[in-house]
Amino acid sequence: MNALALVARREISTRIRTKAFIVSLLVTALLVGAAAFAPKLMGGPDSYTLGTVNSQRLPLEAAAPETEFTWKAFPDEGTARKALLDGDVDAVLVGGAKVLTDGEIDQELGVLLQSTNREIKLGASGVRIEPLRVESVGADTRYQAARTGIAVVLVLVLFMLLISQATMVGMGVVEEKGSRIVEILLTSIRPWQLLGGKILGLGALGLVNLVAILAVGVAASAGSGVATDFPPGMPGIVAGVVVWFVLGYAFFATLAAALASLVSRQEEVGNVMSPLTMLIMITYFVAFYATSEPTGTLATVMSMIPPFSSMVMPVRMAAAEVPLWQVGLAFALMAAAVVAVLSLGAKVYERAVLRTGARVRLGDVLRAK
């Protein structure tokens, strides 16, 4: 096994058995699962209990397939009235001609009853009515609510994962620098192997997290029935999220490593990484804004500028249809930015990581040699 893989494996194996890793994975999975069930729990009462007195049931299910109807037959109007007042039924159909309610009838139910009744009577007299066909001339907005929901969950998941993995990379770098383990490590492996292995290992953990969250999200949505509202092309959206996470992580983690290599003490990590944390926060805010205005100018422009694109683009892709050329351009620019950051970050890291003691100035490192 080469040094890169050995370093990555150590990162994975030492972290995966910590309680923190397992707990955070479980908690995020639970939250995402809960989010998938939330629309079901918060939606209106899509079920009605109806009574009949001397009357046929109406075929309401045909008109509203997603609504649940329960029927109860009553022997006479008196018992039906009592059941209504007790709240046991929402409405009672009497003799196929009259509907009893307690107060005003639920609007949806009223329309359903009237139109179904009319259809049945007309059908009986041999008149057939073709239902109106609906055609949208604008964008397909049927899935808008679901799309926005998915985008909001995504933005949160991406933000949390990116910031936590980048921080872990920074802390890991300082752990090795501060304790002088680097002095031994770098007499047996090259700086890029140590840095690359760390970024790969922690990235793999981040990816495990992400895939677990996505899997729980998709499974829970299927289980709760929310998935029926999902737009077509979900597999593409999910794959896109993974790709964008990888790009964003590579960018931010490399910067984190480079910045962290400037200091020697854990207490200084937060301070030296604050510009990076700010950058991730700004990216997050823009991405969050994009969930509500996915086709606005700000979202469109930011979804193509690295590193903002790493979060804004997957969110836009989830929230709306994005032209392919925009996705391609954003990807190319972000990939180029990752390459640039990797070469610069590796240089800074290599030059700073053995300079223990006082905080190394970024300018000094870049100017040297």
């Binding site: 050995l6 370093v7 304790s179 002088r180 002095e183 770098l186 007499t187 047996s188």
Partner: protein, 299 residues
């Protein structure tokens, strides 16, 4: 042979000392295979800086390090074993796991690394600790792990910065034995230390560094010979004035007089006069200790 020649290193100064600090001023020495070399010098003399340059952790301004006649490269250093002055271990990793990891980073296969780890754990008396996290070990045990990390890949050369500091006498013996074994196997060993008695006991040769320069080096016997011994004469109830005109220092203590004089002089004349003056209780040359040689050299 490991040859270090003419190393110079100036550290950049801060606002208070713009000219910086000259840490190494042309230091040079050589260590042969199978030789245990003790590197001694006052605090701040430049021992750690020299070792860090040999290990490539620091760049010299000028000078060179060569191994087996060729300039030392990264590939060469990978086959060295190094124990830095500031110990560095992963605090949360377990003892065996950690030693094995460093072995693998040095290019050992999984099986070889595991085997070397088990052997070292036995040899260094860490058997009961192999599954413990490093952070739970005492300083001495951490130091054993650190040494195991330096030894795990069967290095060609050992560079150890103060490997014995903070150890109890038993731990010192364990570590010393481990080092002597490697040394007998043909590995040059360089270690720095402030425990001069230990250096005197273990080392074939010694280098004394002061202000970034090697002020004395060679075998302990050679250094002693160069320094010269002191002749000590003790005479009981001597006649007064017997030592008048003789070189050296005369002191009196309860009825005896003690003469300390450079052993290079005419000892026979001194003996004759002492015997004439009284009863000679002691007459002999005393070798200087390494501590005395050291004090003399860095003075």
């Amino acid at each position: 042979m490991l040859e270090i020649s003419e190393l110079r290193k100036r550290f950049a100064g801060g606002p208070g000392a713009p000219e910086g600090k000259l840490a190494l001023d042309g230091i040079g020495f050589a260590v042969r295979p199978g030789e245990m070399f003790g590197f001694v010098g006052a605090n701040g003399a430049g021992k750690t800086t020299t070792m860090r340059i040999v290990m490539g952790v620091l760049q010299a301004d000028s000078g060179s390090v060569s191994w087996q006649g060729r300039p030392l490269t990264y590939e060469g250093r990978r086959r060295f074993g190094y124990m830095p002055e500031e110990r560095g271990l992963y605090q949360k990793m377990r003892v065996a796991e950690q030693i094995e990891y460093f072995g693998r980073l040095h290019g050992l296969s999984g099986a070889r690394a595991a085997q070397a780890t088990s052997e070292l754990i036995e040899r260094l008396g860490l058997g009961e600790r192999r599954g413990d996290a490093v952070e739970g070990l005492s300083l001495g045990n951490q130091q054993r792990v650190q040494l195991a990390v330096a030894l795990v890949h069967d290095p060609e050369v050992l560079i150890l910065d103060e490997p014995f500091s903070g150890l109890d006498p038993l731990a010192v013996d364990t570590l010393a034995t481990a080092l002597q074994e490697r040394c007998r196997g043909g590995v040059p060993v360089i270690f720095s230390s402030h425990q001069l008695d230990l250096v005197e006991r273990l080392c074939d040769s010694v280098g004394i560094v002061s202000s970034g320069r090697m002020v004395a080096s060679g075998t302990v016997a050679g250094l002693r010979a160069a320094e010269g011994g002191t002749l000590r004469v003790v005479v009981r109830d001597p006649s007064p004035g017997w030592a008048d005109g003789l070189p050296g220092e005369l002191t009196a203590e309860d009825g005896r007089q003690v003469l300390l004089v450079d052993a290079a002089g005419d000892d026979q004349e001194i003996l004759r006069r002492a015997m004439k003056a009284g009863h000679v209780e002691h007459f002999g040359v005393e070798q200087p200790t390494l501590t005395e040689i050291f004090k003399e050299a860095v003075a």
